[in-house]
């Protein structure tokens, strides 16, 4: 399956990636996606989304999903 993975703000700068496409059938959850794209331990404050909705790291991914990882938000 194909998963689009996006990173934002300070996390994107730290990892040196904004967007990456993962093609594999060996991943099931967002945790697996993280482990597939980086060796780093996820920061304690890390947030994630699947298809534009907040989810937990044990949420399953499906072919075609857009997954995102980002630090705490602070708009306004």
């Amino acid at each position: 399956m194909t998963i689009t993975v996006r990173f934002f703000a300070s996390l994107s700068e730290q990892l040196g990636m904004k967007e990456i496409t993962v093609e594999t059938d060996s991943i099931q959850t967002l945790s697996d996606v993280w482990a597939r794209v980086t060796d780093q331990t996820p920061p304690d404050s890390l947030l994630c989304a699947r298809n534009h909705a907040y989810v937990t790291f044990d949420t399953a991914v499906q072919d075609g999903d857009e997954v995102a990882f980002f630090p705490p938000v602070n708009g306004g």
């Binding site: 996006r6 703000a9 300070s10 938000v73 708009g75 306004g76």
Partner: protein
């Protein structure tokens, strides 16, 4: 007539009072139906956490940000029987005194308008996918830092 709230992320400067006048003059609100409008305008300060801030870069997750705000605005609108919401949020390069965010809630009565405006603003601050990077005005060189707390 289907009336739709306006939730907008904008990369150009905006004047909140002009936007409010324009919105109220439009087809959204039936004259005489609303007794109350509560608004909040967040503006860029030139200081934060004790430092002089020169500019602010606002990043957002296009698509997710708008979706979250629309869902939450719809939820609050139905719970509190609000008549309408207007939300505008700047992204990109921002300078001191620029408006960053406008949230306005219309209702027949004032408690719902006050509560609705504040609830959506608190949601926006804590959940909407925006991130701020400040350029500080230090003596020698420009210093950049991602803001890591909710102000």
């Amino acid at each position: 007539m289907v009336v739709k709230m306006v939730i907008e992320v904008r990369s150009q400067p905006f004047d909140p009072w002009v936007e409010l006048a324009r919105f109220q003059a439009g087809s959204h609100l039936v004259p005489g139906s609303y007794g109350a409008c509560a608004t909040f305008v967040g503006t860029m300060r030139d200081f934060n956490q004790g430092e002089q801030v020169e500019t602010l870069f606002l990043e957002h997750y296009s698509g997710m940000t708008e979706k979250l705000l629309e869902q939450q605005a719809e939820k609050i609108k139905s719970e509190k029987k609000l008549l309408d919401f207007l939300v505008i949020h700047r992204v990109g390069q921002i300078h001191p005194n620029d408006p960053i965010v406008l949230v306005a809630a219309w209702s027949a009565h004032r408690a719902a308008a006050f509560d609705g405006c504040r609830e959506l603003m608190e949601y926006l601050k804590s959940q909407a996918t925006f991130w701020k990077k400040e350029t500080l005005d230090t003596e020698h060189e420009k210093e950049h830092r991602w803001v890591d707390n909710i102000t």
